[in-house]
Amino acid sequence: MSMQTEPFYLNIGPQHPSTHGVFRLRVQLDGEVVTDVDPIVGYLHRGIEKLAETRTYTQIIPLTDRLDYLASMTDNVAYCHAVEKLAGIKVPERAEYIRIILSELMRINSHMMAVGFFLNDCGAFFTPVLYMWREREKTLDIFDMVCGQRLLYNYMRVGGVSQDVPEDFLPAVKKFVAEMPRYIGEYNQLIKENEIFLARSKGVGILPRQTAIDIGASGPVLRASGVKWDVRKQDPYSLYERFDFEVPTGDTGDCYDRYWVRIQEMQQSLRIIEQALAQMPDKGPICADVPQFFRPPKGEAYGYIEAPKGNLGFYIVSDGSIAPYRLHIYPPTLINITALKDMVVGWKVADLIIIFGSMDVVLGEIDR
């Protein structure tokens, strides 16, 4: 005798504690086992690409803040990098160093949030998040120092940065870099060897190396699958070829590897900041001579950088006016979550949540 059964559909989101925003997963379940998953995006769509067509090149910078709102600084850098590539603007050296220091601080900041909320998805009731938050506050204080903002910075400009860093910026960064390794050690002590955490994350949600390459994944998600690919190394932009750092990779591409790659990247970022602090010129212009109503030449350019979540690109088409003809954003997290179905099918609902959490998604970037 065969029982008549029907699939059990569960909507996880758009309002759910663990979707990191307004994401919706239409999940087909067999008991607790996920048999199919259908990500539905678009709840946070604000039409940033379209809005950009009616704004001047400088006015677009605040819009880019709203992409990955946990890593606004690198969004700004990516956009400015694309415009500079389009117009062929040379950025002054001091501005480049400021950008690099702030980008790497942003990477540490973003990875701390990613790891903290990943642990939260595992059910660790906010303790890891709040420990990470303690150090995140320090980076936010540094950002506050340079631009007066703590979340959406609007600090970069086409050709440089909006204002020079204050006097107490360098001591603050030095203090942070000196303190941070101890805190990373503390995270490792608390999380890395936890038996339940290992049982939950090791071998769970494997993204095979070939799949990761095929879908065009980038960032820690790609590197956790064992692909040694980092824009800062493969196609060095800014001054990254001057620094000595390593690209950490994982072996299997499971949730644990994605967590561990992020922790190691934080250490590498600290190395970069240390070197940048030593090399940074004391004086000098902080912005290239770019007019207020800046008209780049006709043409198109694609600039991309290594943002905390992966390869963030901006494709800009200019018709010679003060606003871009078309601006397209290549969001790393949207590309990364296309592999979600391959990763979660066959796992339990609880695994679906942590696999999704280990991708480190920010909905501002996915929906644009």
């Binding site: 998805d121 660790a124 303790t127 939950r200 071998g203 066959g346 796992w347 339990k348 609880a350």
Partner: protein, 371 residues
């Protein structure tokens, strides 16, 4: 002779009729217990919030009253003023009965918990069996709530609840049998009195661990809080409850924590016994200590997955509980009661060996299903 018996005897000598001298003291005692339990629960809510804030390097509620002590009162008032919403898809009657079914058995546990020498409502000769039996009724209430809400998240939670509660009851009961073997009785007072030189936490460390972990699972506390896993199924079985009905679940959650903390204190931490201070103070101190450990675990550990949870019950705790039971039975036969410290040392050795052995031969993990 419990305090209740003395009270009844006193009224009898005063010439009260039989129905009155029997029922009046009982009603008074029940009221005292209910009020005491609810006030301790309020303190528990405050204590958990403050303690968990300390673990999470923040301050916690500290504005309302001294050290934020009145914050739970404010919360209670807020919850009571909320609109009582019954979903359209809900089974209205069962949705109404479920919170009561969860809450009442939890209060009934306190009937057999000895708060002090003689301060016990009924000194049942099967006290601990009664606790296990009564606390199982709450599972039915939870499943009723989950099923009657007509919500898919709460449905998952309900299915999990049955599996979890049923699995963890077995090792818990087996670890209690170990105590009964040494004590020779199931009565709570006898168990407390049997722990006068050495509390059972030292005499049966493995039994204590099994009972403690099992009771964590029974009261849905982290890392076994799969029923209300907020990152997965939002709030689980009480997702569709609000107002007073939600308050019943909320009080029930802390009430069962208090009840199990009291039972653990009675069974393993020598109950109200202790030097210098009166028994009730010792009892409350030990209960607070147990509850603090529970809060500590909640703020530290991630959650198990559902298959790991079941595997932990059946592959780790059940065999260990059986081995523990056999070892204790052999010890009771071979070692005279005057040489309890020998058994204590032996049991610590056995516990260490067993835990090391299991950590080598068995590991959590795996879990992918081909579909």
């Amino acid at each position: 002779m419990t305090l209740l018996d003395q009270f009844q005897l006193f009224l009898k000598t005063q010439g009260w009729p039989e129905w009155a001298y029997y029922s009046v003291p009982a009603i008074v005692a029940i009221l005292i217990i209910i009020i005491a339990v609810l006030s301790v629960v309020i303190v528990f809510i405050w204590w958990e919030r403050r303690l968990i804030s300390r673990f999470q390097i923040r301050l916690g509620p500290n504005r309302c009253g001294p050290e934020g002590l009145f914050q739970p009162v404010a919360t209670a008032v807020k919850i009571l003023l909320k609109e009582d919403i019954v979903p359209a898809a809900a089974d209205k009657i069962i949705h109404f009965i479920a919170p009561i079914t969860v809450f009442v058995p939890i209060l009934m546990i306190f009937a057999v918990v000895p708060f002090d020498a003689g301060a016990i409502l009924v000194d049942l000769n099967v006290g601990i069996i009664y606790v296990i039996a009564i606390s199982s009724i709450s599972v039915i209430g939870i499943f009723m709530a989950a099923w009657a809400s007509g919500n898919k998240y709460s449905f998952i939670s309900g299915v999990r609840s049955i599996a979890q509660m049923v699995s963890y009851e077995i090792p818990v009961v087996l670890s209690i049998v170990g105590i009964a073997l040494v004590t020779g009785s199931f009565a709570m007072n006898k168990i407390v009195e049997a722990q006068s030189p050495i509390p059972f936490i030292l005499l049966q460390p493995l039994g204590f661990l099994i009972f403690f972990l099992g009771s964590l699972a029974e009261m849905n506390r982290s890392p076994f809080d799969l029923l209300e896993a907020d990152s997965e199924i939002v709030a689980g079985y009480h997702i569709e409850y609000s107002g007073m009905k939600f308050a019943m679940f909320y009080l029930g959650e802390y009430g069962v924590a208090l009840a199990y903390a009291g039972v653990i204190t009675t069974l393993f931490l020598s109950g109200w016994q202790g030097p210098f201070l009166p028994g009730i103070i010792w009892f409350l101190v030990k209960v607070m200590l147990v509850f603090s450990v529970i809060v500590w675990i909640r703020s530290t550990l991630p959650r198990f997955r559902v298959d790991q949870l079941m595997a932990f019950a059946w592959k780790v705790m059940l065999p260990m509980a059986v081995i523990n039971l056999i070892l204790i039975a052999v010890e009771v036969l071979l070692i005279p009661a005057s040489l309890q410290w020998v058994a204590m040392i032996l049991n610590f050795g056995f516990a260490a060996v067993l835990i090391l052995l299991w950590s080598k031969i068995y590991s959590l993990g795996g879990g992918r299903v081909e579909v």
